[in-house]
């Protein structure tokens, strides 16, 4: 091996930790859900942590519960309660919305498999 070869090998070895830290991403931390309020305000919540959120919409507070990797509406100040009827959301792409209160919840998933969902 020439001196140049040694230098290349050393250089390559030095590159490994850099590439490792820069591009090796830890496996995604489970799934997350996106709560959209109106057309622009977004909250992202992890489905790994059980919690209950009071989300203020134009009609009042909608209550969204995260439990055991799933998320659902448990209360909303609308009349139809369609959002509550939607039940638990778990899979990537599942979503429920309280349109009168302009709040929606969508499960994003650790990896986006689809660019859009036809439903």
């Amino acid at each position: 091996m020439t001196r140049a070869d040694y230098i290349v090998v050393i250089f390559a070895l030095l590159l490994v930790p850099f590439l490792f830290t820069r591009y090796w991403q830890a496996p995604a931390q489970g799934e997350t859900a996106e709560i959209l309020i109106g057309s622009d305000k977004k909250i992202e919540v992890s489905l790994n942590k059980d919690q209950e959120l009071n989300v203020e919409g134009p009609l009042g507070a909608s209550v969204i519960r995260v439990h055991d990797g799933k998320v659902r509406f448990i209360d909303s100040p609308c009349r139809g309660k369609q959002c509550i009827h939607s039940g638990w959301l778990q899979h990537s792409g599942d979503f429920a919305a309280c349109l009168p209160n302009r709040i929606s919840v969508a499960v994003l998933g650790s990896k986006r498999r689809y660019d859009a969902i036809n439903f």
Partner: protein, 365 residues
């Protein structure tokens, strides 16, 4: 001799340095190449807005922030404008028109609105009146003309019969190049998803006018995709009609609309019976036997009318309607989750459930 040897040594050293430099340059570029893969997502813009009483998701690929934001704002304005024009039960241009049509008055309309009526009538005729936007009174009788879920009970059979006897269709409208008149007072217009499909087509026009050639506009079940996501096609999931999650997926190419009409979208239950919003204009009751129909076609408005008509047509008659409407890619899922597809659709559908469903392939005839 020794001099010459020395010279050769120099040359080989120089070559060594040269190849060393090459390698250094390649190594230095590697992170950049990898970074280029990462940047894929930075050309993607996503926005979600509420219009037509549904969520509208918009994605654009390959344009800068400003262009994407301007186009999305213009699309939102257009959606709201179409909603205010064609909404069937909120105060809209349509509800104002209707009051005058019911009195038998002749209404003057601009070219855009005339084109909308003509397209709806042509699709209604092509569908053998199974897509019939003139049965608004029947829809209202069932209570599907409000934002909230109807509570039931279902209407009295006599009330349904009385409305059916008046036989309102789009053919009762007298449409000239500038005016509109109705010859049947029983006509009440409810364009439902068709207006949404029309709005999606407009949205794609707006995208193109902003120089965007890669985009998805998804208004609930009405989706139109143009171009692709960088080097790969757009990947669209189709919702399972009975469970949460995805039943199948398709990849779009070029410019295509993917539209699903499902009986699970709006419904109510009364004494254990499921009543959904797609009313069969022949019987006056919700269409039987079908859970959903997915259509791939070039324009969204046609895809919408065709999918709705084929939910009504059901597993026995969908092929006839597909042929009449010139639709080649259809997937119908019946109440037993049996999937009926045209051969052209079968080539595009990738099932995402295990085991895959029972499939019956048949051409549009």
């Amino acid at each position: 001799m020794s001099r010459r040897h020395n010279g050769a040594l120099h040359a080989s050293r120089a070559r060594g340095w040269q190849s060393f430099l090459h390698i250094v340059v390649i190594c230095a570029c590697m992170p950049l190449l990898l970074a280029a893969c990462d940047n894929d997502e930075s050309s993607l813009h996503k926005a979600r807005l509420v219009a037509f009483g549904t969520l509208v998701d918009i994605s654009t690929w390959g344009v800068n922030d400003d262009t994407a934001e301007q186009a999305i704002a213009a699309v939102e304005a257009s959606f709201n404008d179409i909603d205010h024009t064609w909404h069937a039960w909120h105060p809209s241009t349509l509800t104002q028109m209707e009051a005058r049509l019911a009195k038998g008055e002749e209404i003057e309309l601009d070219a855009d609105k005339i084109a909308f009526f003509k397209k709806a009538r042509a699709l209604s005729d092509a569908s053998d009146q199974l897509f019939n936007p003139a049965i608004g009174k029947l829809i209202a009788l069932w209570g599907f003309n409000q934002d909230d879920r109807p509570q039931g009970p279902p209407p009295e059979p006599d009330a349904i019969k009385a409305l059916l006897a008046l036989h309102p269709t789009m053919d009762d409208l007298i449409i000239t190049d500038t005016t509109l008149k109705s010859s049947n007072p029983a006509v009440r217009l409810d364009f439902g998803g068709f207006a949404k499909g029309f709005a999606v087509d407009k949205a794609i026009e707006i995208m193109r006018a902003h120089g965007i050639s890669n985009a998805i506009v998804n208004a609930g079940g009405d989706l139109r995709a143009i171009g692709n996501h960088g080097t790969r096609p757009w990947h669209i999931g189709i919702r399972h009609p009975k469970e949460s999650g995805i039943i199948a997926s398709v990849e779009t190419g070029g410019d295509e609309s993917v539209f699903t009409s499902g009986t699970y979208e709006r419904f109510f239950e009364y004494q254990g019976v499921h009543y959904h919003h797609i009313i069969d204009p022949r019987s006056g009751y919700p269409a039987k036997n079908t859970l959903s129909v997915t259509v791939i076609h070039d324009d969204a408005a046609t895809a919408d009318a065709a999918a709705t008509a084929m939910v009504v047509a059901g597993p026995e008659q969908w092929q006839k309607i597909a042929a009449r409407m010139g639709i080649t890619k259809v997937m119908l899922i019946d109440n037993n989750l049996t999937v009926y597809m045209t051969p052209a659709m079968a080539k595009r559908i990738h099932f995402e459930i295990d085991p895959p469903p029972k499939v019956i392939i048949g051409d549009a005839t």
